[in-house]
């Protein structure tokens, strides 16, 4: 049962990643692209945690923490660049 639940969650987050990719491609504005990218990072974190839990190793948690930090910093940097034309003034 737990294996099916793991594969169901994997399929859901994989489908979500595909939705985000479609939104990333068809977006008209830069903001929409940044937002789709931000959501892609969140789905990738979920997939990493699921993979680490399925294989019963703790190594993937550090990777997901790094993913979370880099995704947040890159979203803020993109938005700051769009707002001010410069990232660090």
């Amino acid at each position: 049962m737990i294996t099916y639940a793991f594969w169901f969650a994997n399929a859901c987050f994989g489908g979500g990643l595909l939705c985000n990719l479609l939104q990333f491609i068809r977006a008209r504005d830069v903001i929409d692209r940044v937002q789709a990218f931000d959501t892609m990072v969140i789905n990738a974190i979920a997939l990493l945690i699921l993979f680490g839990t399925m294989n019963a190793t703790g190594h993937y948690f550090e990777a997901s923490l790094l993913f979370a930090m880099v995704g947040f910093v890159s979203t803020v940097a993109f938005c700051k660049f769009l707002l001010r034309g410069d990232i660090i003034e």
Binding site: I2, Y4, A5, F8, D38, A46, F61, A68, L82, L83
Partner: protein, 128 residues
């Protein structure tokens, strides 16, 4: 005991997966940028929360290992999701909305993302 913990983990995994898929589908489905802001940030953090709770329970109940990294990831995501949404809204307002079109804020300060002087001058020149 094993069956109960397996049922709990499976329910959390299914709830997390459904919320994650709904959040990403809402990003695809909602009409404009400002309404698209709320779908992924609410649902994806809830989805991630379900998956992380399932991971904590799986490691604690089945593998007999107690880990704290999931709590770190959860706290980090829950703190940063509103901040990045706020930045996205600010950038959208700065690029797409003119100060005249925005409603009154009701305070001395203008809308965020614009200089304080600009809405004041716009109000002064229009004076309707």
């Amino acid at each position: 005991m094993t069956l109960v913990s397996e049922i709990a983990i499976s329910v959390l995994l299914v709830i997390g997966g459904v919320f994650g898929l709904v959040g990403s589908y809402g990003l695809l489905k909602l009409p404009d940028t400002m309404s698209r802001l709320h779908a992924p940030t609410k649902a994806s953090t809830l989805g991630i929360g379900g998956v992380l709770l399932a991971s904590i329970l799986h490691f604690a109940l089945i593998e007999q290992k107690y880990t704290v990294e999931e709590i770190l990831v959860t706290i980090f995501l829950f703190i940063t999701a509103p901040i990045s949404t706020h930045f996205l809204a600010k950038a959208w307002l700065h690029r797409n909305a003119r100060p005249e079109d925005l409603p009154e804020t009701g305070t001395d300060c203008g809308w965020i993302g614009y200089d304080l002087a600009e809405p004041k001058e716009a109000e002064g020149t229009e004076s309707d």
